[in-house]
Homo-oligomer: 203 residues x 2
DNA sequence: TTACGAACTTACCATTTGGTAAGTCTAAGT
DNA sequence: ACTTAGACTTACCAAATGGTAAGTTCGTAA
């Protein structure tokens, strides 16, 4: 199939960009991973920036699809939000690569010339805020309050999501295994607590 | 003073590394920022890796000093933890640079050859876990539970801490100002809720 | 059979990278 | 007066970078 190579390039690029960052990976390195030359890559994507953009777009689309699934399967607003967030904890079969890449994007997008102005995270964040404000207890929350709430949860999830190698390095594999095991239930309780608390000290 | 230039190099390097990452900054760029050549930088630090290591070390030391202050000023364990975490929200006069750099370090340290094995975050994290387990309600928490709890809070704080440029880009300056204003009080409540909840569903 | 376009490759290029070598300049110590 | 050492500079260098140009190979459609 023709587009097979393209898809492989996107997979490899996602992995390497997520591990080493945009400037830490050369297009030659990505191509070599597939046994091809960098010009094969340029043939398909035109430039490194465009390749990077397509990788981000693919992730963005996957998150959108994830929300569509949840809106179909769940009806209770609080459950929808919670399900979505819990799913973000171990996002896709590809592991932490999308989480790591999005974290890098938050750190870098302002500086990288070409993709500035293209905010791949925007629809994702707006969907989350919408989910929060569908919850009865949060209906009179301001946009800022709803956003802040969900962004704190997102931070808790994503920060842990990118930390595996570092935490394994610091604490060792066995200690990390315990931490990883403890995380979901603690996250579950955290989300419940935050949702239950509502937007403001009961005024 | 002789070491004045050195300190300026560390300041500039911290800023640029935090903004563009290790691979995104050349030593020539750092030196030019001070009107010097890259060889002046190499004269003081020997290599790019060593410079980067010293920047990290300085940040690590500052966090240690911060804890010392808090241990001196506060006696209640819960207050100590909360004060520490709230201080991390806007860490130093230098703004978000240390937070951004540490986030990059979490993403990168496994891959960068030289600094692998040097875990600048280790003492910082161990101090936090110690603070948690000093709190009466958390005294029978496992290490993993205490760690997971504080790491979630750390994630909420740090993720927001690195997001200013991105969020301004997505939502605009005025919307971001509202979010920034709403954040501390929500964080305050989040920390209280997590501490109060204790390590496990009341068994 | 030929024409064509997609999927590549080898050559090549200017620029930038981190780092070495060999100075120059200046202030302090003896 | 002479030496030494620190703080720098100019001159290099080999390797790697992203990208262009010009093919080659090959399956398919006219």
């Amino acid at each position: 199939m023709a587009s097979d190579t393209r898809e492989q390039f996107l997979d490899t690029a996602e992995m390497l960009f997520s591990e080493r960052g945009f400037y830490g990976v050369s297009i030659a390195a990505i191509a070599n991973e597939l046994g091809l030359t960098k010009q094969a890559l340029l043939h398909h994507f035109g430039s490194k920036e465009k390749l990077y953009g397509e990788v981000l777009k693919r992730i963005s689309d996957e998150f959108a699809a994830l929300e569509t699934d949840i809106l179909r399967d769940e009806t209770d607003p609080a459950t929808r939000l919670k399900t979505y967030l819990m799913r973000l904890h171990t996002p896709f079969a590809r592991g932490a690569a999308p989480t790591r890449l999005l974290m890098r994007e938050v750190l870098d997008n302002k500086r990288r010339a070409d993709s500035a102005g293209t905010w791949y995270l925007k629809p994702f964040l707006e969907r989350l805020v919408r989910l929060v404000r569908d919850i009865p207890a949060w209906q009179n929350a301001s946009r800022a309050e709803a956003f802040t709430m969900v962004y704190q949860l997102l931070g808790a999830i994503n920060y842990f999501g990118i930390s595996e190698p570092t935490l394994q390095g610091i604490f060792g594999a066995t200690s990390y295994a315990k931490i990883e095991q403890a995380f979901p239930s603690q996250l579950d309780r955290l989300i419940d607590a935050v949702i239950a608390a509502g937007p403001r000290s009961t005024a």
